[in-house]
Symmetry: C2
Subunit: 387 residues, 2 copies
């Protein structure tokens, strides 16, 4: 298999882009990424998208975006795995280049929540849970996360404000990210006083649904332009795992099996152990997801993920830096684009270009994209290396 | 790259399956395919689906179907490229095995038109065309195909009944396929007297939207069970190409560029020329698509694809056997499953198990899955070979 390099990165600001459409959003990120790669010519496009057929009445994004990006004729396809669509698209792009079948692959994640043409956003999001047994009961993803959180608090005797650390860290880091939706640090009382959404889940336990697009260009090392201006970052590990959609079908709903399995496989492929990971971009669509991810991956024992956050150990350059550019909570959650934002942010960190958010000496990143409550998890290890 | 073998095939009857759901349909095909492979254990699932988020309120099919198939934990993802979703899923499965990253890949195509929970079927199908510039005008895919057909008739002076041969061939072949939706040969006057849908497109120019699921198991040759009971069929070529979604953006709307490009690349990879192709499973969602595909691939010159059909040259064992098990027209068009049905049917032919539909001495198949009016085309070359 060929070595796969992150040759170019691009992203738009995350937010409410009422003024532009899904395709314009995607193209902005694609053009950034292609420019950043020194003008490599993609032969294949992998689009990570979660809800456009419902929210924007637009399927068939592969051909559409290839055409609008001026790449008419290339191979193009859409990859969907709920909230993990971005990570899954990255993995398909990785496979295409690693196999030797494709020299240059373009991966774009895009989501446009503000289109809302078809179903409402909550109904559309609920199509990613088990439609026949969960969504049909009226359970939204937030309500489902609230049930998980409540169970977690009960099992492990966690206080109501035990999750504040996730939002505090995310907002502190997001303040320095020019592409983040929210660029303002918050105080502990902001969390404490936040409006309740679905008890015990409050406004600051939930990442905001938002519009955005992010893109990466992948290629083999021998195809990089000679004057390639960036430090080299490679995909050293890639893995994906699936679990039941419905929570009630799990033996232990408080353990994210897929997060453990996919991270373990990706680290094994990369030949590294957890201690070598410089920072962890988890999928904090809900604070309870972040806590369970920290535990599944192995940064905390069961029931103690929240404590890492409370103790400030997930802040920059403490035990394990998380959500270093704001995570889903502060950067925003642009659905199927989220996993590609993680990839872009990890590359920025590993290139040493994260400025005020820089993780000191960042060498190895673990990024993880979840679909639903870890019904899908896609994990990647990125590594900075010397040419 | 590893050699990729079609180790197992499975399919359900195509039709209106009001009594069972999307997941049950998919699982039936998956179980068939795994059994047919001698019990190989898939490590990755690629789901081809076009409209479930709209028609069945169900996204995130990868994890859902992996779980229902008893494969909880494996990698699983949904691949969408409109009507080419099945072919695109097959290609991703092929890439996964060819790359050496996955030993055994399972590809399932599934569509359930009779769910129709969300948008109506025509509205849902229209999301695969350009939403902002075509669908918004109220143009359905059938209306779009009618425009293409009318232009074709005008340019090449084709009589109104010049397309009858496509339906006649499809229904003659479908009569012998136990999984076909329509198993009855038709007479020329059936076509002539058929109800008009969108002038000049009549009922027999359109493949029926239908429910169905088909699956294939892919693996490397060295991993086949020792007592593998079937003749060996490999994927010798695989390629995909994209074009504009909107017809008005094309230089020549009467030439399917992507059909030409993807078929050409797949044949080049396989090291064959067109004359060596034993049969061609085209994407006859509309008869005009079949005519344009025959021309783009090179079986007829521009403007003469319809004549091949009229002259009976696409019937079994004439110039080029097409729609050998009924094609979309008689087997039925189960959306994102259609491309995987083609794969199953091609494998049956190459194994020599097609009985009354058998193409004599079938050795090499070209199958082609289209999204919209060839906005996406995915082409595969299957080859029978001796161990």
């Amino acid at each position: 298999m060929s070595e796969v390099i992150i040759a170019g990165i691009g992203q738009t600001e995350v937010g409410e882009h009422w003024e532009i459409g899904l395709r314009e959003l995607a193209i902005a990120a694609i053009q950034d990424a292609v420019r950043d790669s020194g003008g490599l010519k993609p032969q294949a496009l992998f689009v990570g998208n979660m809800l456009a057929p419902n929210l924007s009445n637009q399927a068939h994004l592969g051909a559409l975006l290839a055409d609008y990006a001026g790449l008419t004729g290339i191979e193009a396809v859409t990859i969907e795995a709920a909230g993990a669509s971005g990570g899954a698209a990255l993995r398909q792009g990785y496979l295409a280049v690693a196999s030797g079948m494709v020299d240059v692959a373009l991966v774009v994640g895009v989501e446009k929540f503000t289109d809302k043409i078809g179903a409402g956003v909550d109904a559309a999001l609920a199509t990613t849970s088990d439609s026949d047994f969960e969504a049909v009961q009226g359970m939204t993803l937030a309500a489902q996360a609230a049930l998980l959180m409540k169970r977690y608090m009960h099992e492990y005797n966690v206080p109501k404000d035990g999750f504040a650390g996730f939002a505090l860290t995310a907002h502190a880091n997001g303040a320095n990210n020019p592409c983040a939706m929210f660029r303002k640090a918050i105080k502990p009382e902001t969390y404490t006083k936040a409006e309740m959404v679905s008890e015990p889940l409050n406004m600051f336990d939930i990442a905001p649904n938002a519009d955005g697009a992010a893109a990466v260009v992948l290629t083999r090392r021998d195809l990089l332009p000679k004057d390639f201006p960036h430090p080299l970052v490679r995909i050293a590990g890639s893995a994906s795992s699936s679990d039941t959609l419905a929570l009630h079908d799990r033996k232990d709903m408080l353990y994210f099996d897929t997060a453990q399995i996919s991270a373990g496989k990706a680290m094994k492929q990369a030949g590294i152990v957890l201690d070598q990971v410089s920072f962890f971009e988890y999928h904090d669509a809900f604070s309870i997801y972040a806590a369970l991810s920290l535990e599944a991956v192995g940064f905390a024992i069961k029931g103690r993920g929240w404590k890492l956050a409370e103790d400030g150990e997930i802040s920059l350059n403490r035990k394990i830096s998380c959500a270093t550019m704001g995570g889903m909570k502060a950067r925003g959650f642009p659905g199927g684009a989220a996993g590609v934002y993680q990839a872009v942010e990890a590359a920025i960190q590993l290139r040493g270009q994260a400025e005020a958010s820089q993780v000191t000496g960042a060498k190895i990143a673990l990024i993880q994209s979840l679909g639903g409550p870890a019904s899908t998890a896609v994990s990647h290890i990125f590594e900075r290396f010397e040419a």
